[in-house]
């Protein structure tokens, strides 16, 4: 076996720099468990900040240093996204910890007709993702991992467990626990070459089985089992925001990043969706979930972005948002209609695009088709107006009816002349909403044609207008 290991030393910082390109000052990621620097930007290195420094030391060196708290969720989500991207060019992928990806090179040598071809493609893919990475290769994932962490940045054509590069690696680059490294340092063992030279039986007397298993892997004798990465069948991505966002429209630029990944995911699989769900993690309130619907299933980034922007304009946040998750779980196979110049096809596509915009801005129940309602009581007909795409209801015509109805009938207060009627409606005695009314067509002095009725109490009401 021949493994390539890609080590991403500053994944969270890379994401921060993508989201916040205008931030050029020193920025560090602080591990909340011991308040020490675990990732730092180039500007921070120039300012003299080093990994492992405490928070107080960092601020003493440079008071304006940007501080980000380390989030393993954010790194895991990013790593999964990277693995999904790499899955397009490689098959056997293993996600290791929260910042490493191992790729089995053995089947790729033949497929790409040489390692150099694959490595060029791999480097190009990762550069496009704008992440910093180091790499190394070896007979096992552990060997490749040590070489990657030691910044070897080269791939051997024939993996040699006893290579000089590996022997010269410091013990700090290994996965050995700090306590064991200290023990080894005390007896003068500082490099991996010195450790490998020791007989395993002797090491076994002083260290536990985990160390022995690790050393066997380092020697290329036995590869511990790993489960291979498989992309999710549904798209979901978590994004930690660089700062808390207080207004919904300002989320647009951050949503654009996960949305681009989602659209790329769908396009590569020839899938489409008409529903995207967003979950916003609010700092002082429960998560806010909102759904954006499109008129038709598609995977076009610009159109989704426009719909989401419309939705965000209407959205009110309870408190600042610190992170967000995009969930896309209603996937269908993309079936592009033949968008020819034929009028009907083009119109249907345009219709769907219009529908998506209207739903995004005005709400999911804002657009309706109207079907006949099988009800003589128009008060109920108003409430039963059919939602979009519902099945039509067949009923007989309910006599002369006005175009416009009032949601609540209003008392008739102006003088009118009755020109048609009565039409008696006496129904609903079976469902506790009895109606007994005589309807008339009445005309006001200004020529307005009213639909009025007289109830059984002899009170007069206006119920609609004949448009």
């Amino acid at each position: 076996m021949h493994w390539l290991y890609l080590h991403f030393p500053r994944l969270q910082l890379d994401l921060f720099e993508q989201l916040h390109p205008e931030q050029t000052g020193p920025t560090v990621v602080i591990d909340g468990t011991d308040n020490t620097v675990c990732q730092l930007s180039a500007a921070a290195i120039s300012a003299g900040i080093k990994p492992g420094m405490g928070l107080a030391e960092v601020t003493a060196i440079y008071a304006q240093t940007g501080i980000i708290e380390y989030s393993s969720n954010s790194e895991s989500s990013q790593l999964e996204q990277l693995a999904t991207t790499l899955y397009a060019i490689a098959s056997d992928i293993v996600c290791v910890a929260s910042n490493g990806i191992a790729i089995n090179l053995s089947p790729l040598v033949r497929y790409y007709q040489g390692l150099d071809n694959f490595m060029a493609l791999c480097e190009r893919t990762l550069t496009a993702q704008r992440v910093h990475f180091q790499f190394g290769s070896g007979a096992t994932i552990e060997i490749a991992r040590v070489l990657a962490r030691s910044c070897v940045n080269r791939v051997e054509k024939n993996p040699d467990p006893a290579s000089n590069h590996l022997k010269n690696c410091s013990l700090q680059a290994t996965e050995l626990p700090a306590r064991e490294i200290e023990q080894l340092n005390r007896i003068g063992i500082r490099t991996l070459g010195q450790l490998i030279a020791l007989p395993l039986e002797e090491i076994g007397k002083r260290f536990n089985n985990q160390i022995i298993t690790y050393l066997l892997a380092i020697k290329g004798v036995k590869q511990p089992p790993y489960s291979l990465f498989h992309p999710r069948k549904l798209f979901s991505q978590y994004l930690e925001l660089p700062y808390a966002v207080e207004s919904a429209p300002r989320l647009s630029r951050f949503i654009a990043i996960v949305l681009a990944n989602n659209c790329e995911y769908l396009q590569k699989r020839n899938l489409a969706t008409d529903t995207l769900q967003f979950e916003l993690q609010q700092r002082e309130h429960d998560n806010l979930v909102f759904v954006v619907n499109a008129g038709t299933a598609h995977h076009h980034l610009s159109e989704w972005q426009m719909l989401i922007d419309l939705k965000l304009e209407q959205l009110k946040l309870d408190s600042p948002v610190t992170s967000l998750t995009l969930i896309c779980d209603q996937l269908v196979e993309f079936d592009p209609e033949n968008l020819s110049l034929l009028q009907s096809t083009y119109s249907r596509h345009a219709e769907n695009m219009l529908l998506g915009k209207l739903l995004a801005r005005l709400g999911n129940d804002s657009v309706k088709t109207v079907d006949q309602v099988n009800e003589h009581r128009q008060d109920y007909a108003v409430q039963q107006t059919c939602a979009l795409h519902s099945a039509p209801v067949n009923s007989e015509a309910n006599g002369q009816q006005p175009a416009w109805l009032m949601v609540q009938p209003q008392p008739l207060t102006e003088q009118t002349q009755i020109l048609y009627g009565p039409e008696r409606i006496h129904t609903g005695w079976w469902d506790d909403h009895p109606v007994k009314r005589d309807y008339f067509l009445a005309v006001t002095g200004k020529g307005q044609r009213l639909w009025v009725y007289r109830d059984d109490q002899q009170h007069w009401y206006v119920h609609g207008y004949f448009g």
């Binding site: 219709e351 209207l358 107006t385 175009a403 416009w404 009032m406 020109l419 200004k446 307005q448």
Partner: protein, 232 residues
Amino acid sequence: MSASISSLVKHPLVFRGRDHRHSADGNEVRLPFGQASLDKACAGGVPAAGVLSIRALAGQGELQLLNNVLLQKAGAQKRIIWLPNRMYLNPNWLSQTPYQQQSWVINTPNEADALWACEQAIRSQACCCVVMYLAQIEPKAARRLQVLARQYDCLVVLVHPGNRIPGALPVNIDMELSCDARQWFVHLHRVSGAWPQQHIAIEHPLPASNSAIVNAFRQYSNSTATAIHEVS
């Protein structure tokens, strides 16, 4: 001198009826109302693309007057958008029209959203007609809709009371419905392709009446038997 006249003539509020007459004689499609006197005053009917402003109160029979125009537009098989804006379109009334299947009713929380929805509908090119009810419309907004509607070949029918607008709106047709006793009139404040005209008498029958019963009783009362009922 000529420059100052040119800038005056180009002002959007200056109506150039003579220029429009030339375009009306060209290839502009017009949709007749089906009322001879009104169609004649409108140079053949409503231009198929642009804004038709009707100053009327709800219930003055504005949709009845438009029936012929809507039927012709519906032939395009594109969507007809209804923006009732605080009113409620009767589903049973719409379901009895031939264009029910191609109609969408859009409920908007306010008039600004209604104008936005109207603009999106025009731009989408999925709609042949938008019918919008507003409490008031600014000339600038009407002008914007007019330009868009002409560009995207859509008919926008704007129904509003119109009592707050001093002059004519910069649209294809700005008309007002009024009633005098039992006669209905249309006042044309602006028509593209013709000159404004007042008091155009039109036929505007009620959707229903008791005339059949009245006639029956009148005939019955003329006979030798005595009438026992009277109907107004």
